[in-house]
Symmetry: C2
Subunit: 231 residues, 2 copies
DNA sequence: CGAGGAATTGAGAAACTTCAACCGTGGTGG
DNA sequence: CCACCACGGTTGAAGTTTCTCAATTCCTCG
């Protein structure tokens, strides 16, 4: 079973027929190298993209060379499910590691929407709940909790697609990206990571995140996974 | 024509039949006083709510009595279009002024989704684009620009439903709410507002926002309305 | 006229940023 | 095989932004 199927299964109660359908839809896979673009702001892609392996991110550049990251795309995640509604992408998507990306014709996605359980799963993929949580995270929490909360979320999502091995997972992103995610400077992120490490809560080194005690970290970060709407 | 129809018209090219349909769906209206709740976190409302007059807001309370505001709901805006997918509300909605709220049976909404143009309009209502822009706003901009950007957005949305009179509009919210929106303290919001006023960019007094020169303010705040996806 | 909530002000403290230098590592070319 | 280069991460120091606390003023409403 593909990660894509795993991901949808983690959200909704889809059955074997549904899985059959989505497997056949996501047959065409493209390989994209690390540090390049999957989709640019302004593009109008013909196909819907799904990350099958690797790590990508959704972002927008601003004035003065600043950048805000809106989401990390893990294996199984859609890049642009919303293009059915919109003409153009209003943000960009880039890779952090080398990625395999499945291309699904829009028509195949429309077909999937005809199946109630699949439609529900797809709907849950494009929920605004995670963005709201990020807003709350940046708006209300101090640096260390903010970063801790992010790690909790990524851990939970990695777990949903079976990508955790004894408390650790790969997170191939530079600290600058972390900084642009949580609205802090690179320097302050570095210092905060040290504090978290020294507190024994998280370790983030060599692109590997280790969380010795997930419950303790969740408590520290006030992380409640409900907003992910995992089953 | 109701504000609700105006709102949908500002997003998609719906026709007279469509308007007929949505008018008949939103017949039952409830009056709610200022400072009370429309929907609580955890509720599972039977009907979909639409603000017809007044001002409401979407928010979540956190640890330690903090609060993050995710959206302002202007006349014409949906409160809970997503409840079809989710069992429970994962955040709350409260009123800032006294409001009239239309109740639409879920079934009526499902019926609207059968009409392509209406479906498109409804889809555009629940777009994540605005949340992304808020995230960028809080994550990357300093206090004064952050507040200025928010005013630009609200102005644009008020304009879309014809609620602007010579550069001014009513914004019946206390500064504490503003603070909980942009992730700043009440005190700092007060000081930033003064700075904006002294710069001749915005005036926010007695719950009225006056923008003498919208273009100048937009430039200052780096505001580009594209993310609102207004026609 | 008085009371209560909201806004403003001042002052001191904390959080976070910037700048600049330095370290470590992995990859490349001589 | 070694030297060097580039990049990401770390550190220190100083500066700026934003926060907290507490007092004061301003408005609105009764």
């Amino acid at each position: 079973m593909t990660v894509f199927a795993k991901k949808l299964l983690s959200l909704a109660d889809i059955d074997a027929d549904d899985i059959e359908l989505l497997m056949s839809a996501s047959r065409d896979v493209r390989k994209i190298e690390a540090g390049s673009a999957i989709i640019h702001e302004g593009d109008n892609p013909d196909d819907v993209h799904v990350v099958m392996s690797g790590f990508a991110y959704r972002y927008k550049d601003t004035f003065e060379g600043r950048r805000q990251i809106f989401a990390y795309l893990l294996p199984g995640d859609f890049c642009d499910l919303h293009v059915a509604l919109l003409k153009r992408m209003d943000h960009s998507i880039g890779t952090l590691s080398s990625c395999e990306v499945a291309l699904m014709p829009r028509r195949a996605v429309a077909e999937m929407m005809q199946h109630p359980r699949l439609a529900r799963a797809l709907g849950l993929c494009s929920l605004a709940a995670t963005l709201r949580e990020w807003l709350l995270n940046i708006g209300q929490r101090p640096a260390e909790q903010r970063i801790a909360h992010l790690f909790c979320e990524i851990r939970a999502r990695m777990k949903a697609v079976d990508l955790i091995e004894d408390g650790s997972f790969s997170l191939p992103i530079p600290q600058t990206a972390l900084a642009d995610t949580v609205g802090l400077s690179e320097v302050h992120v570095s210092r905060s990571l040290r504090a978290l490490r020294e507190a024994g809560l998280v370790e983030f080194q060599k692109r590997i995140v280790s969380i010795p005690n997930a419950k303790k970290l969740a408590e520290y970060a006030e992380f409640d996974p409900a907003y992910l709407h995992l089953r």
